[in-house]
């Protein structure tokens, strides 16, 4: 690295250290911002010569990146931004933290992928799913598809690992791209009733889908079921995933496919993936005032719907914590797209700055609930021994920090 890049990294690290020491934050964002301001080409320099995996999509980025990092970690050190700082400054911070690691796994906000692809030449781009999320910030899915596709055209050497079950993802992959298709399934089809390319209504049958314009579900190279995973050439093995939910089995299969592309043996990567029990606080179990509390992040209707599936059949008490700051999206209309009716019969408390929005939704769903705006007061009033806390972005972050401080 040249002098300028080294100075930029040093200044960023110093800033991050000051930020951490003064208790202002984890330091990665401000440190990365300082470094980038001093050297705008830093991202290119920091990734040169490394095997880079970029992970993007609406849901599952953080968890999938962590699973990939675990699998690749069996073959050497991996630099990764698994803390969830997924914009440019966060990437720089992750890359400067470990400059020797031969691999980097970078979770990237879907809006920033085009910019990242222009500075980084990744070996692999993982494209998980594209559904409505923070419509006020991200905008419409159709626009996202076009910008991703255009950016990928400029990186013909990049291997795309993508989900054939999401028509929006398939439409975002340019013709002629090198693709490994990993069937991850989808229980959320509200955003792809019509073809993302021509807007005709898609035909769906038994997991398959196609359109009159020619867009259709590609044949998957990888898939999974209860018995395990199946890869190219009939490779088959058990899939043990500690994280809950069908979607995390899907994310784990993606991780195996990516590790396989780097030549990691399936035996090693399945073992590494199985050992992941929490991802920067998500799915973490904590003991809080005599209760076993599990922390779950929900940010949009697709993710929340999947998470309600994880909770189905259980009897845990629930606390829903919803804020409406910029990082959360100020438009909380999505709570009406979540089948909260499924919570009938559970003990439920709603909390957070936008607790009233959720309370109105639950009232119309026929789910009795308490409203306690302060999340800590909500946690103080628990009655059941096991509790699941579902929180959106800033609410989740504050809870994780608060619980860390209380330890």
């Amino acid at each position: 690295m040249g002098l300028r890049a080294r100075a930029a990294v040093a200044a960023g690290n110093l800033t991050a250290a000051v930020s951490r020491a003064s208790g202002m934050g984890a330091g990665s964002i401000i440190g990365g911002r300082v470094s980038l301001a001093l050297d705008p080409h830093l991202l290119t320099r920091l990734t040169a010569g490394r095997g880079v995996v970029v992970v993007t999509g609406t849901n599952g980025k953080t968890t999938t990146a962590a699973l990939i990092a675990a699998a690749l970690g069996t073959a050497g050190r991996v630099a990764s931004n698994t803390g969830g700082s997924n914009m440019l400054d966060g990437l720089v911070a992750a890359l400067t933290r470990d400059r020797q690691a031969p691999h980097a796994v970078l979770e990237v906000d879907e809006l920033h992928v085009p910019q990242v692809l222009d500075s980084v030449d990744p070996a692999v781009l993982v494209l998980l799913n594209l559904t409505r999320d923070q419509l006020d910030r991200v905008g419409e899915v159709a626009h996202l598809i076009t910008t991703l596709r255009t950016a990928l055209v400029r990186r013909p050497g990049c291997l795309v690992v993508a989900n054939p079950d999401d028509p929006a993802v398939v439409a975002a992959v340019p013709d002629g791209a090198r693709v490994v298709w990993v069937a991850t399934g989808s229980s959320w089809e509200h955003d792809t009733v019509v073809c993302p390319r021509c807007a005709q209504v898609l035909t769906r049958s038994d997991g398959d889908w196609w359109c009159g314009c020619g867009l259709r579900r590609p044949v998957p190279d990888w898939r999974f079921d209860e018995s395990g995973f199946t890869g190219p050439g009939g490779a088959h093995g058990p899939l043990v995933v500690a994280l809950p939910g069908l979607f995390n089995r899907a994310n784990a299969t993606v991780a195996l496919a990516v590790a396989d592309a780097f030549g990691v043996s399936l035996g090693r990567s399945t073992t590494a993936v199985a050992a992941v029990v929490q991802v920067s606080g998500r799915y973490r179990q904590v003991r809080h005032r005599g209760h076993d509390v599990r922390l779950l992040l929900v940010k949009n209707p697709a993710g929340a719907t999947e998470m309600l599936g994880v909770l189905a059949g259980g009897t845990s008490e629930l606390v829903l914590v919803v804020n409406g700051r910029e990082a959360d999206g100020r438009d909380l209309s999505w709570v009406w797209d979540v089948p909260f009716e499924q919570l009938a019969g559970r003990r439920v408390t709603v909390a957070g700055e936008r607790a009233s929005d959720v309370a109105v939704r639950l009232g119309h769903a026929g789910v009795p609930h308490r409203v306690v705006h302060d999340p800590w007061a909500a946690l103080a009033g628990l009655t059941e021994p096991t509790v699941d806390v579902l929180a959106n972005y800033t609410a989740f972050r504050d809870l994780v920090r608060g619980l860390d401080r209380a330890r």
Binding site: A142, C198, L332
Partner: protein
């Protein structure tokens, strides 16, 4: 009223016209009838099915351009909604629903697409997306309470003389063309850009539609959580000082 007749709330093409919580509007209508002891049923009219013309109230939600265009084409080939409107049955149309009931929609790729022409308005794209809380003062005396909701759209809709606005805008963008007004009312159609869904935040608007459906006044219904949400959202807008004019009305 009408013995124990079951009222039907039709949700038109929920999978096409259902961006961001708009199906909640139908649920609000159903619940407000049920909470008054009336029987009410949701009828989801899926893509490929004919729109029944004898439902008591119709709800159309928002969509991205492509899905909205496809919905407009399908409705153009279906007489159900037109007949319901001709018979004076109430319709709530949100966002793309508002746009496609108008004469024409120009998308941001510059293409014109015909709407159903049931509302005297035309829509063109805005330069920037209109996003944020909206507060409006009802026009036409349908309520003394302020209209409150969240807008998230790229449309700019110009009303013709046959349509009148639903509200004048006190904060936010609304229709985004000419005078600061929000929504459109024409005959039995009520259209708005507000999501949220709009009826959850505006029980007076829900009851206006329901009274039109039922054909008589409904007994008052106060839902505490809704009252609290309205107070919070209107309070948040006031606290940001973005309100045009006076907002002393509740």
């Amino acid at each position: 009223m009408r013995g124990d007749r079951e009222l039907t709330v039709a949700v038109v093409y929920p999978s096409l016209l259902g961006t961001y919580g708009d199906a909640g509007n139908a649920l609000v209508l159903q619940r407000r009838l049920q909470w008054r002891g009336l029987r009410a049923r949701l009828v989801a009219v899926e893509v490929g099915e004919p729109v029944p013309e004898h439902c008591d109230v119709y709800v159309l939600g928002g969509a991205e351009d492509g899905a909205g265009r496809t919905a407009a084409d399908m409705l153009a080939g279906d007489r159900g909604l037109r007949r319901a409107v001709a018979a004076g049955r109430p319709v709530l149309a949100v966002c793309a629903g508002l746009q496609i009931l108008g004469h024409e929609v120009r998308t941001h790729t510059g293409q014109d697409h015909a709407g159903l022409g049931l509302l005297d308005l035309t829509t063109a794209p805005r330069a920037a997306r209109a996003i944020g809380e909206v507060t409006g003062r009802p026009v036409g005396g349908w309520s003394a309470d302020l209209l409150s909701g969240f807008e998230n759209h790229r449309g700019s809709s110009v009303l013709g003389s046959a349509a009148r606005p639903l509200a004048t805008v006190l904060s936010g963008v609304g229709n985004g063309a000419g005078e600061p007004v929000e929504g459109a009312v024409q005959g039995s159609i009520v259209a708005t850009y507000l999501h949220g869904p709009v009826l959850a935040r505006n029980p007076a608007l829900a009851d206006w539609l329901l009274e039109s459906a039922v054909g008589e006044a409904l007994e008052p219904l106060e839902v505490e959580s809704v009252t609290r949400l309205r107070a919070e959202r209107l309070g948040a807008v006031r606290a940001h000082g973005r309100v045009r004019g006076r907002t002393t009305t509740r």
